[in-house]
């Protein structure tokens, strides 16, 4: 496995959210401010990396028939740890992500990577895979957050910059409140994925012409 390819796979060509279409629920639900997006992205990155390492280390011990249940137990333990740590050290984040922290257990990105990568590869490669895929997820969440926050609240960096209020860019009475409601979530993700498909298809065509 080559590290550079793994990195680009995680970030763009096999981005867990924008290309593999995994982990839709948190992507839509919590991307209303930059603080939420980065917090969720980091939590998933840590859990994914730890779970990948443990599952990869145990891959020869876990019987094939009960593997999914075993993976879920490993993932759930790490999620509980992160949940408790966030409650203790970053209560603001824990409060604003709420239900979606325990729900990382059923985030398909983590189970998907456990089944698709960690159960077949060594510990080092699995750790790198966790970091890169987690990073790709974080980038996708951040893009969603920036767009929705800008259009829906007119701010940048909400919860993080300027004492938690974020930097006001648009005047508050011109914003489209719908963008931070569920409607805007579906719409933004649709448009972002369409943009990714557009750019992914483009370079291939020029290459074909060059041949």
């Amino acid at each position: 496995m080559n590290v550079k390819k793994q990195f680009w796979d995680g970030l763009i060509t096999q981005n867990p959210v924008l290309v593999q279409l995994l982990g839709m629920c948190p992507t839509l639900a919590i991307t209303t401010s930059l603080f939420n997006g980065l917090g969720m992205g980091l939590s998933v990155l840590i859990i994914l990396t730890c779970a990948n390492v443990v599952i990869s280390a145990l891959r020869k011990i876990i019987p094939n028939k009960v593997r999914i249940a075993c993976y879920i137990v490993v993932i759930a333990s790490f999620v509980t740890m992160v949940d408790l740590l966030l409650k203790a050290f970053v209560p603001a984040l824990s409060k604003s992500l709420g239900l979606f922290i325990p729900l990382i257990v059923v985030n398909c990105i983590i189970l998907g990577r456990a089944e698709g990568f960690a159960s077949k590869n060594g510990i080092g490669a699995s750790a790198l895979d966790g970091i890169f895929q987690g990073f790709g997820n974080m980038v996708a969440l951040t893009i969603m957050c920036v767009i929705r926050e800008f259009l829906g609240a007119g701010t940048f960096g909400g919860g993080l910059l300027n004492g938690g209020k974020g930097i006001q860019i648009l005047p508050p009475d011109t914003v489209a409140l719908g963008m931070i409601l569920p409607v805007g979530g579906f719409l933004t993700l649709g448009v972002v994925i369409a943009a990714v498909q557009y750019f992914m298809n483009k370079p291939k065509k020029t290459k074909e012409v060059a041949k």
Binding site: C25, A69, I72, L99, P102, V106, G190, V191, I193
Partner: protein
């Protein structure tokens, strides 16, 4: 505290329309997007989800109440084990339901097919159980919330599947084909469901 019929009805109505699990709480998006290409399969998935959400609420309530929230010696509780316990119970429940249906109601088993095992990773199921404990619902309220949430999921996925069946025949820009245009359609359905947000009957 005995739950009155009115409060139960209000919880059920809230779960089906006002706080619809899929369209306003974003739970269970994966099956919502994945299994909604045809109305028939969407209907099967919805039915299975109602059943599993109802049973999961009913089974997890006593486990939470009598084992996890119980005061043990030294004054500690096991509440921090909620996530692990609930997901394990749901996973084994789904497995059990699958085996039971295979033996006793093979026709239903055939109809649900691959969707049954997928329900384990449906975050609506874990979500409803966690919400029940967070909101401190009684047994009857939990059961109502679980079944109501399942019905809400069924309504949303069937509506969405019928929209998607029509969409097959429409034209759209190439980059939007497939998943993105489906998300845009889901956004319009969510917009329609926002209209319920002011609904308060009881």
């Amino acid at each position: 505290m005995p739950a009155s019929i009115a409060s139960l009805l209000s919880i059920a109505l809230g779960a089906v329309l006002v706080n619809n699990f899929v369209l306003s709480q974003f739970l269970g998006i994966c099956p919502f997007m994945g299994v909604s290409k045809k109305v028939d399969t969407a209907l099967g998935m919805g039915m299975a989800v109602i059943f599993v959400m109802g049973v999961a609420s009913a089974v997890n309530w006593p486990i939470n109440k009598f084992i996890l929230e119980r005061q043990y010696g030294g004054g500690g509780t096991l509440e921090f084990l909620q996530t692990v316990t609930f997901i394990l119970v749901i996973a084994s429940l789904v497995q059990f339901v699958e085996m039971f249906l295979q033996k006793s109601v093979p026709s239903l088993y055939e109809a649900l097919g691959v969707y049954l095992p997928l329900i384990t990773t449906n975050c609506a199921v874990l979500g409803v159980v966690l919400q029940n404990t967070q909101k401190g619902y009684t047994f009857a309220e939990s059961l109502t919330y679980g079944i109501g949430g399942g019905i809400g999921f069924l309504v949303a996925i069937v509506l969405f599947a019928s929209v998607r069946e029509r969409m097959e025949f429409g034209k759209c820009p190439k980059s939007f084909e497939g998943f993105p245009i489906a998300l845009v359609a889901a956004s319009l359905i969510a917009l329609a469901f926002m209209g319920f947000s002011g609904l308060k009957v009881w």
